[in-house]
Point group: C2
Chain length 212, copies 2
């Protein structure tokens, strides 16, 4: 029977392997030279779509960038987020445009009007990020996917406009059920999938610091 | 041929449907009364695991909560995040313990030592959140999954300790390849799946405000 390798031998082999891996990785990274504003989509039924977008917004602020946020759904970003972002009034502008989820308003005509108003503001922010003195480096259209899903906005117009965004602008779109047409034109798409959720399984309610 | 319904009729039907949906939702939410600290896991190969955790940390800070962060991998949370979190020195404590990815250190013995040191700090933070005067309301163990995957820490001990966390503490664990044993004891698990990634497809490099 062969003897088991000593811890020293295990380490040696692991280190050799990791040296080869690093060489391969360095070679791969050397080909990544493109810089451009990304069209980023967070979708899926799991949590973390808006939270990760908020993380990106905050990270960008920490990097002295300027950020515009349009909320297509009311009532989010209300408490925790606001207290933090208020510390950086010169760098972040939040426009709360949604009148609430369809669930709450129960008024389709009002929802459509709110979606249209939010889209007008979105277009303004995106256009203002063009040219030699862009107003924002990042724009977040939070929950835009929801109003697209309900056909509250003309999809073709939205896709065409987002596709023609200023080259350097990072644009983030969140919300479940992202349209395939949006995924087609996006640079980076992440799907958040719920593997386990305490609401459903444990009757846990929305809690401070987690949900809001 | 039947006439198409008017916009008014479409709205009326949609509003009726949304009224019923809201009633069902309110009834469901009324059953959600449990408050407890959650064990949250962000895993999967997609982006947004640490970014969403950072979003939760920042949201918690905005809610006057106190947060401890242990970084099992060096070099993250270095720039953007730090500038923001430094504005809240009384609320957040970050312990950077990792000596770097295995790729970079190529020294398994040192990686294991770093993982053990980070785990000791993690245990201290979690224990300090027990009792009538908990030190933290939220603890983030960023990239713990990676060192568990490489078996740098005894899985049984880690799982046993996390399972016995203080009841009110929100505990977040990030990193791809979460162990099934961790998913078993977690309250909320989200998998971030990469649908599209600009590194691979467009040779886009890591950029300020997005990757760091």
């Amino acid at each position: 029977m062969a003897e088991l390798p000593s811890e020293e031998e295990v380490n040696l082999r692991a280190n050799e392997k990791s040296k080869r891996r690093k060489a391969a990785r360095d070679k791969m990274l050397a080909t990544k030279t493109v810089e451009k504003g990304l069209l980023i989509v967070h979708t899926g039924k799991g949590k973390g779509k808006s939270t990760a977008a908020f993380g990106l917004v905050t990270r960008a602020i920490g990097n002295d960038m300027r950020v515009g946020v349009v909320q297509f759904v009311k009532g989010k970003w209300e408490t925790g987020e606001r207290h933090v972002l208020e510390k950086f009034p010169d760098q972040v502008e939040i426009r709360t445009m949604g009148e609430g989820f369809t669930w709450d308003t129960q008024d389709r005509a009002r929802d459509i009007a709110a979606a249209k108003a939010a889209w007008e503001v979105s277009k303004e922010m995106i256009e203002a990020s063009r040219g030699p003195e862009p107003k924002y480096d990042m724009v977040l259209l939070d929950e835009l996917n929801i109003v697209l899903r309900y056909d509250y906005l003309p999809l073709d117009e939205v896709i065409g406009f987002l596709k023609a965004k200023p080259e350097d602008l990072h644009l983030i779109v969140t919300g479940r059920n992202a349209k395939p047409e949006l995924i087609d034109i996006a640079d980076l798409v992440t799907e958040m999938t719920a593997i386990k959720h305490p609401f459903r399984e444990q009757n846990v309610k929305a809690q401070k610091g987690i949900e809001f």
